[in-house]
Amino acid sequence: MQPVVIEGGHVIDAATGLDGNFDVLVRHGLVEAIEAPGAFRSAGDVRRVDASGKWVMPGCVDLHVHLREPGEEWKETVQTGAEAAVLGGYTAICCMPNTKPANDSAEITRYILEKARAAGAARVLPIGAVSMERKGKNLAPYSELAKAGCVAFSDDGDPVADAGLMRRALEWCLMLGLPIACHEEDRNLSCGGCMNESPLSLRMGLKGFPGVAEDVMIARDIELARFTKGKVHICHVSTARGVDLIRRAKNDGIEITCEVAPHHLLLNEESVVGYDTNCKMMPPLKASEDVKGLFAGLADGTIDAIASDHAPHDRDSKQVEFSRATVGILGLQTSLPLAVEMCLAGAISRTRMVDLLCSGPARAFGLPYGTLRPGSAADVVVLDPRREWLFSEESIRSKSKNSPFLGRKLVGATQHVFVGGKQVVADGGLVADLLK
């Protein structure tokens, strides 16, 4: 691979604290050096990428993605997901084990990794199941899964109801140093609710999912983390109370991290009025007090990561009665622009944005990505922070089109994306032959 110099851009790297004009030299798949503008002017035999007027940041790391392969390939495949990822600025994506069959064996993990290698787009980092078949009864073989390439464990949308099993899982994972990612929901409280429980759910006559169903499980897992010293990662925290609990746990020195999804920040339960099934997800969209609590968590550092919870679903499973529709929305191609939107609106600083999308998630799962520190993998995004574009079905690379952001004007467009020094996105489009 020919070395690359990305020059003239504004480099933002939260892990090293860089936020200014620098040129980046990429060689042998690694970031070799970052120097003042013009420092690499005399370097010969390099390809030069013009980044003037652009932001140059580490590739984003997504801790929460559903790729649907094996089992539901009509909704998404590893390839279409990995391609959507790089188009959206994600160079590493962690895929949940709710495939069919579930990712509870090295065989499935290897299958996913082979598909990812064949796709040649984003790095795909599988998350193994906590319990066999994600049924909450028997522990999955964590060591086998970790050796095959799993970076964390989760039963995804089926919360681990059995606190005893959760305890043993956390204890076993101590020796692997890997976190357990928890979808927090007490099913006896959520009870089939399909939107936030609130005056609005009462008005619409839809079964409510009360925020406390999430909070009690966050509280439980904080105490289990305290007790076992295991690593807990809270998926898509959506309540103000949940953020408070996590903030307090962090102050107590407990090993806990958490992520928030962009839709929980930028939409609220009012979006459900009209019974739009593209606004149906778990946890459900919340009322504005909760949204405020999430922004407070973004501002004070309680929240470690923005994760897309990319959940492709075919049209048929969404074009039904609200309560019967599948849950979840796309996120890989919208999360970065939505974060840019929050940044430009002043809700988060540029470096905080990069921390939430890159170094924060990498830290949470102990991954060697999300930074431009010399010597690290050259996963780089060149982003035009001023380019506005309309998010439409045509812009979607995923096999599914379920997004509440369709028709929204997004700001911030990925221009060039490198994974391990290889360019996968050029001028906003996928590089023709990713396997070259």
Partner: protein, 321 residues
């Protein structure tokens, strides 16, 4: 753009009175020897019910027939839906047979709204969706109340109206509350916190709605008491300890009404659970308007069908979203 009647939300006082005035005219039609009028001759009304119903279905069917429409009743809980067809496919299939009005009942809130969004040339009438809305029931309740108070020289406005029982799951209560608020009436929602959570004061965005958990206190000085049906399965879902416990706290008795709201009238959407939410003495007594409600149901549905199918002169009013 086709007009629909999906709910009482958003209907103005003018809209409501228009429905009631047309309905009142049809009450007289229903009392004639020859009950048929030609208003909807050549029109087709499909009643598609995804949830079992006796009185509402019969009421719509009779209403359509008295207007000379061709009415077809599809019991969708035992038809193609059981064969795995989606709601959308079912209603699109029916729309391709060119009906003028589709009357739909469904167990899921929002189903008629979803259907209306996807149909292009058929008027949709919501005959009850989940725990959301049941607009024709609200209209027939209003018509019944109006007739009663007219005899006393009063109108439909300036009333204190209470709803007793399972407000949480009641589409009848929701549609009625929206209508009464449009008329400027005061609303009291009465029942245990499990069925009438305090959050209900925020549901309708109006200071005219209050929540009271004690029945005697809630009944105080009401003009109208709407008694809601207690669904028997609620005790299995732990909304109430058991029906006996429920009735001890919330069964409407003549003694209580006499003491706290002596001049009130009582409505009930039916079917009644005597001894659970309403005593036989109240149900059969002079303050009960239950049978009048059923009678008015046909007239109200005739009004709705004729307005939506275009037989009533101006169709410029907004008919609810």
């Amino acid at each position: 753009m086709t007009d629909h009647l999906l709910g009482m939300t958003g209907l103005s006082k003018v809209d409501i009175f228009r429905y009631l005035d047309v309905a009142q005219a049809f009450v007289e039609v229903s009392e004639r020897d020859n009950k048929k009028v030609p208003d909807l001759r050549g029109k087709t009304v499909v009643n598609i019910f995804f949830e079992p119903s006796t009185r509402t279905l019969a009421s719509f069917d009779i209403a359509g027939k008295r207007l000379s429409a061709d009415t077809i009743n599809v019991n969708a809980s035992s038809s193609s839906m059981q064969k795995g067809e989606t709601l959308l496919d079912t209603v699109r299939t029916i729309e391709s047979m060119n009906p003028d009005v589709l009357v739909i009942r469904h167990s899921e809130s929002g189903a008629p709204h979803f259907v209306a969004k996807h149909l292009t040339r058929t008027a949709v009438v919501n005959a009850g969706d989940g725990a959301h809305e049941h607009p024709t029931q609200a209209l027939l309740d209003l018509l019944t109340i109006r007739q009663h108070f007219a005899a006393e020289g009063r109108g439909l406005e300036g009333l204190r109206v209470g709803f007793v029982g399972d407000v949480r799951h009641s589409r009848v209560a929701r549609s009625n509350v929206w209508a009464h608020l449009a008329l400027g009436n005061k609303i009291r929602l009465i029942g245990p916190p499990t069925l009438v959570p305090a959050d209900f004061i925020k549901v309708f965005g109006s200071d005219d709605v209050s929540v009271v958990h004690n029945l005697a206190e809630g009944l105080q000085d009401l003009d109208v008491v709407v008694c809601l049906r207690m669904q028997l399965e609620r005790q299995d879902q732990n909304f109430v300890p058991n029906l006996d416990e429920y009735s001890k706290e919330y069964c409407l008795s003549e003694r209580l009404l006499m003491r706290h709201a002596p001049r009130s009238v009582v409505l009930h959407p039916g079917p009644l659970n005597r001894g659970t939410e309403i005593s036989g003495e109240v149900a059969d007594g002079p303050r009960s308007l239950v049978l009048r409600q059923v009678n008015n149901g046909v007239a109200v549905r005739m009004a709705v069908l004729s307005i939506l199918a275009g037989s009533v002169e101006s169709r410029t009013m907004s008919l609810g979203r």
